[in-house]
């Protein structure tokens, strides 16, 4: 079943928020979903789900060879399992075998209908590991030039790694100076699947530790994410990533 890396190039564009909500939205459509917090140096998914991380059961422990697949997967919402990253600085000091990420997502893909990989920003070894552990890439950006540059780089790396690009998710849209959707599509050469409005409720949901699709299902952000889920499902079907 498809393993989708959610990537951005530029940090701070809302990739983790999109990942957690997309996981819940896909589960809402009846699919079983596994979410892996592969942002090795900036893991935040446990905060987004309001879950306290138990050391010894994190992605870092798995990558350090100290835990098995079964040790690190936990159910966090109806239909959603997650592998959280450690938030301890010590965990980063451990020698991590990033290649093990591919083994983990392959294991998860045998047991779930969708595997989402919340990928690190930048273009270091960890993003390559995230792409190697995926079948397709979803690019998140904000509608500004720096983010467009990050999206272009992400697209190039994804293509170099032989990964399909599902499309663009424009986060924090709705400001006067936003680059319009058609211009973004022309600049990056990929379709915008959905635009997510910039509203304070997103920050509130992060503070509350509950994805918006769960806590405010009728909100414009949740509707946008559900629309994204439908498009992801359809894209995966058209790319023959699902049976």
């Amino acid at each position: 079943m498809p393993r989708i890396a959610i990537a951005s190039g530029k940090g701070g564009v809302g990739k983790s928020m999109v990942s957690s909500n997309l996981a819940v939205a896909l589960a809402d459509y009846g699919y079983s979903v596994a979410l892996v917090d592969a942002d090795i140096e900036g893991a935040t998914q446990s905060l987004l789900f309001g879950v306290e991380v138990v050391e010894g059961t994190t992605l870092h422990d798995y990558l350090a060879g100290k835990a098995t697949e079964g040790d690190v997967v936990q159910q966090v919402a109806n239909g959603v399992s997650a592998v959280f990253g450690s938030m301890q600085l010590d965990a980063l000091m451990e020698p991590l075998e990033l290649e093990r990420l591919e083994k983990l997502t392959a294991w998860l893909a045998e047991r779930h209908e969708y595997v989402l990989i919340d990928s690190p920003p930048g273009f270091e070894r960890d993003i390559l590991a995230a792409f190697a552990a995926s079948d397709a890439v979803l690019i998140v950006l904000t509608p500004d030039v720096l983010s467009v540059t990050g999206a272009l780089k992400t697209k190039k790396v994804a293509r170099d790694e032989g990964r399909a690009v599902l499309g663009l998710v424009v986060n924090r849209s709705g400001q006067d100076h936003d680059i319009p959707k058609d211009e973004l599509e022309a600049l990056i050469g990929e379709r915008v699947l959905v635009s997510i409005p910039d509203v304070p409720e997103v920050r509130d949901s992060v503070m509350a530790g509950s994805p918006m699709v769960l806590s405010l299902p009728k909100h414009a952000v949740s509707r946008a994410i559900k629309k994204l889920a439908k498009k992801v499902i359809s894209q995966c079907k058209s790319l023959a990533l699902v049976a």
Binding site: D144, V145, L152, K156, D176, P180, D182, E183, A186, L187
Partner: protein
Amino acid sequence: MVVDDEEDILSLMREILTREGHTVITASGGREALEKLKHVKPDLILLDIMMPEMSGYQVCKMIKQNEDTKGITVAMLTVKSEEEDKIRALDASSADWYFTKPIDVAKFVRSVRWLLENPPRRG
């Protein structure tokens, strides 16, 4: 300001943009453009990438490194359309925008109007 070493392109751009009510200055190369920028400050520079002597990348970098000109919006105008070219233009040369030739005139005119009304912000 339109910077291109091809006279045909300069004429075409001048015609399209003048018809839209814009005042157009042209330069047939990087050196001429940089010289003209000492005296005029256009709202937008449309800059070809493949030019003799100085590439558009180099010209753009010099514009963006100069305190007097770094605030001017620079859009690359080129036949190059690979991701690497776009990344190089937007990242290494700090350009603000990217148009690929051949242009769709109606769309190009809309984009130029939008760029003039909304100078791109970086992050």
